[in-house]
């Protein structure tokens, strides 16, 4: 049995999840990574994607997050998500809408810099739509 890790997922509106986890998979900007107990202190930004949490009780949770930070400190692991939805509650239409908005942003962008940013957002969203589709089977 793996050592438990104090895990908290907070969004601006509420504390979404708090408890002991044994393993958390996080979509970092530079790739997915897994956090377990006694992980070295790490701070990373997130890209849109699915967080997979294995609770100490054996329960597994999948949560869609969009934008935020992961803060791994010796006292525990805190995930600050700008937006978070339980995967089973996520409405694909919402995501499709977001993708559409993002693609409109790409069209509307007037400078190269903005365009690159919007394009990155769009591809990330599309990527995570695929990920969700895959997770759901």
């Amino acid at each position: 049995m793996a050592e438990p890790l104090a895990f908290e997922l907070v969004s601006p509106e509420a504390l979404v999840l708090s408890g002991e986890a044994s393993e958390v998979v996080v979509p970092g900007t530079e790739g997915y990574f897994t956090v377990m107990a006694n992980h070295a202190p790490l701070m990373s930004t997130l890209k849109p994607g699915v967080v997979e949490v294995k609770m100490a009780s054996g329960e597994e949770k999948q949560i869609f997050v969009r934008g935020g930070f992961a803060d791994v400190s010796p006292s525990g692991f805190t995930l600050l998500a700008e937006q978070s939805v339980m995967l089973e509650e996520l409405d694909m239409k919402d995501l499709d809408q977001q993708i559409q908005n993002a693609s409109e942003d790409v069209g509307d962008a007037d400078t190269d810099e903005k365009k690159a940013k919007a394009q990155a957002m769009l591809s990330q969203l599309e990527e995570c739509r695929d990920a969700i589709n895959q997770a759901r089977g």
Binding site: P12, L15, P41, S44, F69, T78, L80
Partner: protein, 298 residues
């Protein structure tokens, strides 16, 4: 002296007003509970955010290339006052006390030879300030149609402020809102959000419990990129917190104002009823005297 009919009408109208104020009080009480819950739910996020920010700031300390959002532009010539008030009136001194605080500050800054710009969130503050500061009022952002303030709204305001900052339209940004203490006390507050260095140090509430400067963090990507992402978000979080505090304060202020109004209406009805009864009695007596003296004259 008002006639009986006039008195009767006035009593009816005060009673109608009392019903309205009573209803408004109850609505405010129900909304207050919701607003308070929302404000409490948002607390963990801003507390964690402050912890993370404090951790990174301590890592960045003393470096010249720290982002401008954190250390400022090096000047303090142009001030932006972000004044957050309610969309509706009838909530006692809530809107005017925020506006007063902002007005005093604006005058002070002007007297010191600084340039002042004002951005309003909420219609009431805009109305209160436009007389004196019309030309320097940048804009009004209203969420009148929004039922429950969410993070998206705060983000909208935050983006606006950041855009102005990028255009170098101001050096220092101060946020005005009302801190919710209790139903009877809301404290108008000013909080500096740009540069954020001082804001996170002053605010005792946001200083997290586990700031551990000894721990050396690994950053992914590096500090600068994280900060570039974190600082704008922090602005939005601060604004979000202020908006929620404001929401709770507004309902609290409205509740006590409407409670007072209901009580006043009750007193007024009592007084009017008394003078109505007295006058009716006087009229009866007068009629009796007329009848009796008429009978005696025969």
């Amino acid at each position: 002296m008002a006639s009986l009919k006039e008195l009767r009408n006035r009593i009816a109208s005060v009673k109608a007003t009392q019903k309205i104020t009573k209803a408004m009080q109850m609505v405010a009480a129900a909304k207050l509970r919701k607003a308070q819950l929302a404000a409490e739910a948002a607390r963990p996020y801003s507390a964690r955010m402050a912890t993370v920010l404090a951790n990174i700031s301590s890592a960045m300390e003393g470096r010249d290339d720290a982002p401008k959002l954190m250390i400022g532009t090096g000047k303090a010539d142009v001030h932006l006052l972000l004044v957050a008030t309610a969309e509706r009136g009838l909530c006692g001194g809530f809107n005017s006390s925020i506006a007063r605080l902002a007005r005093t500050k604006a005058r002070e800054l002007k007297a010191a030879g600084k340039e002042v710009k004002i951005l309003c969130v909420g219609k009431k503050g805009f109305d209160a300030l436009k007389m004196e500061f019309g030309p320097i009022l940048l804009d009004l952002i209203t969420f009148r149609e929004v039922r429950q303030i969410g993070f998206a709204q705060a983000n909208e305001v935050g983006d606006r402020v950041l855009q102005l900052f990028e255009e170098e339209a101001f050096d220092v940004c101060t946020l005005y809102y009302s801190e919710f203490q209790s139903v009877i006390s809301q404290i108008p507050t000013e909080q500096q959000i740009i540069p954020s260095m001082t804001a996170s140090n002053d605010d005792e509430e946001t200083t997290g419990p586990d700031v551990s400067p000894d721990v050396s963090y690994e950053y992914e990507p590096d500090e600068e990129e994280i900060l570039a992402d974190l600082l704008p978000r922090n602005i939005a979080v601060q604004i979000f917190r202020a908006l929620l505090e404001n929401g709770a304060s507004e309902q609290g202020a409205r509740m006590s104002a409407m409670d007072n109004a209901t009580r006043n209406a009750g007193e007024m009805i009592d007084k009017l009823t008394l003078s109505f009864n007295r006058q009716r009695q006087a009229q009866i007596t007068k009629e009796l005297i007329e009848i009796i003296s008429g009978a005696e004259a025969l």
